[in-house]
Symmetry: C2
Subunit: 322 residues, 2 copies
């Protein structure tokens, strides 16, 4: 046990010193599960709260990963250290590698001022949102100035993860279906900044116009926290608009701080963080209690309906049997 405690202390010290191996290890613990990461995350939490958390979200094919890379290079030019958490919906066995998204990130991987980590969707295991938010805490505690959280802009958990940020960038691309992917993804109103990617391609201007027109119909989408939501055209290929996007991300944080909206935004992030953590803890304790097989057999036999079964599962949940 004392070895374990010493190892944990070394790990925390390593993360706080910004050591890559310690950071990777701490995020792996978070990915492993609630219990595995409990001590480390509790120790790291007091050291969080300094990073600018930026959620970047958009449907598959919108060019999020490429934009994240370009944006990271821009922040690096300004001397900022950048941590990236990519919530990757790929199957565990593919690990996203087949798609090459991560391969395109390879040039960043050699930069000591950048740390990139993909988290796979955990399927029935659950806990994805909690793990992603833990990973953000690790990178925040490790002293990264900006933490980019890239998620696919569809799916309740994924949208919730992106929304648990100070600044939310929603990425749309021209030529993807009907040009209203932002609405289709249910993320129009959570954007602080809309980025239209692939501005070098035909239709980018139209996509931007459509977004602006839709924002006109949505008071909450058009402006919130006293901030008018801009629609920016960008091209990671040609570099167009990337500097402006990076500057606008920074300007949004300053706006939050100057206007006093920052405290409210921080409270929203904490609420999401705590509720997702409670959800994962409840599931972890249910699994650990070992009563699930018996309860399911009773549901299958018709002795319990699913809600009565849920009530049985929650009984005794308040005490940690571990």
């Amino acid at each position: 046990v004392s070895t374990g405690a010493a190892t944990a202390e070394t790990l925390i010290a390593g993360v706080l010193a910004g050591e890559t191996r310690a950071i990777a290890k701490a995020i792996s613990l978070a990915e492993t599960g609630f219990d595995a990461s409990e001590a480390a995350m509790a120790a790291l939490h007091p050291h969080t709260g300094k990073a600018h958390i930026v959620g970047i979200t958009g449907v598959p094919g919108s060019g999020k990963s490429t934009l994240v890379r370009a944006l990271t290079q821009e922040f690096r030019k300004a001397g900022q250290r950048v941590g990236i958490v990519a919530v990757d919906p790929s199957s565990p066995y593919s690990g996203g590698a087949i798609l090459g998204d991560r391969v395109r990130m390879a040039d960043l991987a050699n930069d000591p001022g950048v740390f990139i980590r993909s988290l796979a969707t955990r399927g029935a295991l659950g806990g994805l949102a909690r793990a992603a938010m833990d990973a953000v805490d690790v990178l925040d505690a490790a002293g990264f100035d900006v933490v980019l959280v890239e998620t696919v802009g569809v799916g309740q958990d994924e949208v919730d993860i992106a929304r648990a940020a100070h600044t939310v960038v929603v990425v749309s691309a021209p030529g993807l279906g009907d040009g209203v992917q932002a609405i289709k993804a249910g993320v129009l109103e959570i954007a602080d900044i809309h980025a239209v990617s692939k501005a070098d391609r035909p239709g980018a201007g139209r996509t931007a116009s459509e977004l602006r027109a839709m924002l006109e119909l949505s008071p909450a989408g058009r402006a919130h926290d006293g901030w008018t939501v801009p629609v920016l055209e960008t091209s990671a290929e040609t570099g167009t608009g990337i500097d402006h996007l990076a500057a606008t991300v920074g300007a949004h944080l300053r706006h939050l701080k100057d206007s006093g909206a920052f405290a409210r935004r921080r409270q929203t992030i904490l609420e999401a963080r705590v509720l997702k953590t409670a959800e994962d803890l409840a599931r972890t304790r249910i699994e650990r209690s070992g009563v699930l097989p018996d309860v399911l057999a009773r549901v299958a036999a018709g002795d319990l309906d699913p809600r009565a079964a849920a009530q049985v599962l929650l009984r005794g949940l308040s005490d940690d049997p571990g």
Copy 2:
């Protein structure tokens, strides 16, 4: 209270009789929340277990909705009654209507043998998976022979919802990005049937070949439950392959029953159902307890880390304070 009980009894009787208004009302209760729907769902549960639950999933733009419509028409020709639960990631304010997906369903809406309901992503409210599974139970109890559950094939909750089915159809379309949307969506291995939509368009054959090649690399994707996963080309526009897809969906159910795999599949569905319900109940009780604002204030002040806060929230969760 006696009026409420009488109303509840009338509602249950209406659902069991297949009355459209009662079905709509019961699903609305499920969407409202855990508490609102508790009595109705407990009463309906013993009447479930007869429908063939078919999950239909694919990335945005894959043509899911159009395929669901074509498939429904095919089942109707065979005299089967079809219930449809569409988990729609659109913003609440748009209700999906802007996209016209639901509009294209309008011809089905006039058929008394078809019931269609869209559920919106609930954002921070949570409970989407529980509500969707409740809606399936309502349609099952109402006597629909087939219940189609359409979800976007990205996002943990959405994939979990689609997977809680007897038969899972994953829809891919040609010309969407890199042609490996199924992997990108993390749903390759959950498919019992792959449908390539828009087979009238260029590239459909290539998309089907790519899927088959990927399945060769994935033993779990290629076959499970003693069933070899087919890749079918379909076109809702020309009608190509729709009859074959409908027949294959039916053949898969017969295979599950003949092979004895049905009981295991049913157990998997029940497990997802019970765990998602427990998750939603936990969240509902946390909200009802009223301790959240105080706990969040303590986290903001640095007195609690998110995990300690989660533990505080779970205390007392075992007893229903309502």
